[in-house]
């Protein structure tokens, strides 16, 4: 019973995703399977000359939809409220997340023990932000690229001309992002995570030591190749990479709607009623705290 309730709680946070049309099988002429897409997109990204903003940067502005969901970033089959999907991990031999043994043990029953952070309406964090439910808008102004998210009505600011990261004592739900342009690619260095967010509804996790380097590159006018290199020596045996895709939303007159996530949200009580606890971060689970 506990497991089913856990799944219910987890899927509650994915409801707003189901309104989207089914994703097409290709984007920019590349198959929507992360490893194949990555291999296919790399030469196209090099050849493509993207439109520019007035200050000369690649123009990524507009409305975007995710090509993959955040049900489970590892390969998964159809399930209750879950649509089958490929692993987004591209560079480990079995395409699974290279957890250290103790971490793999925690992963096994994490969704049976803890309430999904998204069910609690917390911001998605990075890299989940790239695969969080519903549509995105990207806007650019000299020195900034900003994601406006339909999900949870949150946003994320990426300064592209800023100084060093905030001090290590500052921990944030969305992390601290520092972007820079390398040719046509926006490279974003993300640190200062509070370690309280997950990759997905399957409870794949990192600690507050996670360091993410994201790369956003236009493959053609309507497709962004998204890559995140994840490093967390507390949790994984090695750094690894995941790949996702943003596809331009071309619906005429499209606008972001708002989602006041906390409004009427009873998922937390539902989880608590079957013994699930707020997710305290993996360092606290391992240390037996909280």
């Amino acid at each position: 019973m506990k497991t089913i309730a856990g799944i219910l709680i987890v899927t509650a946070s994915a409801v707003c995703a189901s309104a989207q049309a089914p994703a097409p099988a290709t984007a920019a002429g590349c198959p929507l399977e992360p490893v194949k897409f990555h291999a296919c997109a790399l030469p196209k990204m090099k050849a493509f000359s993207p439109p520019r903003t007035p200050d000369g940067r690649p123009d990524m502005q507009g409305y975007w939809d995710r090509a993959f969901t955040s049900q489970d970033i590892e390969e998964h089959k159809d399930g209750f409220g879950i649509q089958a999907g490929p692993s987004l991990v591209i560079d480990t031999p079995d395409r699974r997340i290279p957890y250290q043994p103790w971490a793999l043990e925690i992963k096994k029953d994490i969704v049976d023990r803890f309430i999904s952070p998204l069910a609690s309406c917390f911001p998605p964090g990075v890299p989940r932000q790239a695969i969080a439910p519903a549509s995105h808008q990207i806007i650019q102004s000299p020195g900034y690229l900003v994601h406006l998210l339909e999900y949870s009505h949150a946003y994320r600011v990426i300064p592209t001309a800023a100084g060093p990261h905030a001090a290590g004592v500052v921990t944030l739900w969305q992390g601290d992002s520092r972007g820079r342009w390398e040719g046509n690619t926006l490279v974003v260095d993300v640190t200062n995570s509070n370690g309280l967010t997950w990759f997905d509804n399957a409870g794949n996790f990192y600690s507050d030591a996670v360091h993410v380097v994201e790369r956003y590159t236009l493959v053609d006018a309507d497709t962004i190749h998204y890559e995140a290199r994840i490093e967390d020596p507390k949790v994984y045996t090695r750094p690894w990479m995941m790949v996702s895709v943003f596809v331009r939303n071309k619906e005429p007159g499209f606008e972001l709607l708002e989602q006041a996530c906390h409004e009427g949200n009873r998922a937390v009580e539902g989880g608590q009623s079957v013994g699930l606890k707020p997710y305290p971060g993996v360092t606290n689970i391992r240390g037996g705290g909280r």
Partner: protein, 345 residues
């Protein structure tokens, strides 16, 4: 204990978002000879030649004063009821978007402008978009928390009209209500690099006799970053009401209460303010007024818990008395530290 607990709960939600780290020089900022940001340099302009409002702006308290004479009776009744419940239903205390609430101009706000839209980003990660692509404001947009906003330039002045609000948001922290017919007009003028003048007018004829609003002079925050301030716990579990406080009240003789009547002055959030204590029908009332009207003239009934300790809408008020029992100061008890107000008269 309950008194203090409530005070804790109330104040946690009102800490200003002054989170910042050590100043570092950021690129693209006009500077004076000594390297400081030149606040009076000309306002930057976007590629379309319009003033560019992009930046992190810090606002004073907008001083959206309570004005019972301008509020329809049903609004006054809601204001009274919301104070009675220690404002626990305020959207931001419930982790919900603040919508058009005037207090969103208090503290930090990031503005990001492009030629076709302007994003207003709040530190609770809520945001709104002002379309400046020439579209008209819809006559009757679907109600939402943040409303629907359209802006147009009149010379160097940005005029923003908004509609389409749901009725769950407040117009100030005191709980002034509005209907779905609410229209908001904002006027923005960036007069130089460092200063942004904002004028906000609320029009809602079934709630207010005439349009009302406030001005906020916002200042640029240069060489820093705005951090997130995420609501992690809603106010649903808060306990206590003004009636509970009244039931726990002790009897204090009128001549003792009379020794506390006076005006007290202190500093709150770097702003001078006074607490004006009066006695009305056997009840002490604290009216909190500041230069920046931190408390908007709210009247707080002070309910006695002892001869010298009172509860005023969830906060503690401890009168310090001399050997004759006459108050020399009053200490406002808050979670972010007690504040002493010295008697002025």
């Amino acid at each position: 204990m309950r008194l203090l607990f409530t005070a804790l709960a109330l104040i946690v939600g009102t800490l200003p978002a002054a989170a910042q780290w050590l100043d570092r020089p950021w690129p693209g900022i006009p500077r004076t000879a000594d390297g400081k940001p030149n606040l009076t340099a000309p306002a930057p302009r976007g590629p379309d030649g319009k003033p560019d409002l992009t930046g992190i702006w810090s606002g004073p308290n907008p001083a959206a004063l309570l004005d019972p004479a301008n509020e329809k009776p049903w609004v006054n009744e809601l204001v009274r009821q919301r104070q009675h419940e220690y404002h626990r239903g305020r959207p931001s205390y419930r982790c919900l978007p603040s919508g058009p609430e005037s207090d969103t101009f208090l503290g930090w706000k990031r503005i990001l402008q492009t030629p076709t839209m302007i994003a207003m980003l709040n530190d609770d990660l809520s945001y709104r978009v002002i379309f400046t692509d020439g579209r008209e404001l819809e006559a009757n947009p679907a109600p939402s928390w943040m409303g629907y906003s359209v802006g147009r330039w009149e010379g160097d002045t940005l005029v923003v009209d908004s509609a389409g609000y749901n009725t769950k948001t407040w117009l100030s922290r005191y709980g002034q209500a509005h209907t779905e017919a609410l229209r908001v007009r904002e006027v923005y003028r960036r007069r130089d690099f460092g200063h942004l003048q904002v004028e906000v007018t609320y029009t809602d004829p079934t709630a207010y006799v005439k349009p009302w609003g406030f001005k906020a002079d916002m200042a640029i925050e240069a060489d820093t970053e705005m951090l997130e301030s995420i609501c992690e716990r809603s106010s649903e579990q808060w306990t206590g009401t003004a009636s509970d406080a009244a039931q726990a009240a002790v009897k204090v003789p009128p001549d003792v209460l009379a020794r506390y009547v006076g005006v007290y002055g202190g500093i709150y959030l770097n702003t001078k303010r006074t607490i004006d204590v009066t006695l009305s029908a056997g009840q002490l009332i604290a009216r909190v007024v500041g230069a920046a009207a931190i408390d908007g003239g709210e009247m707080r009934p002070l309910v006695p818990r002892s001869d010298t300790l009172f509860e005023g809408v969830g906060l503690g008020y401890q009168f310090i008395v001399d050997e004759k029992g006459v108050a020399t100061s009053v200490v406002e008890i808050k979670v972010n530290g007690p504040i002493t107000y010295t008697r002025l008269k």
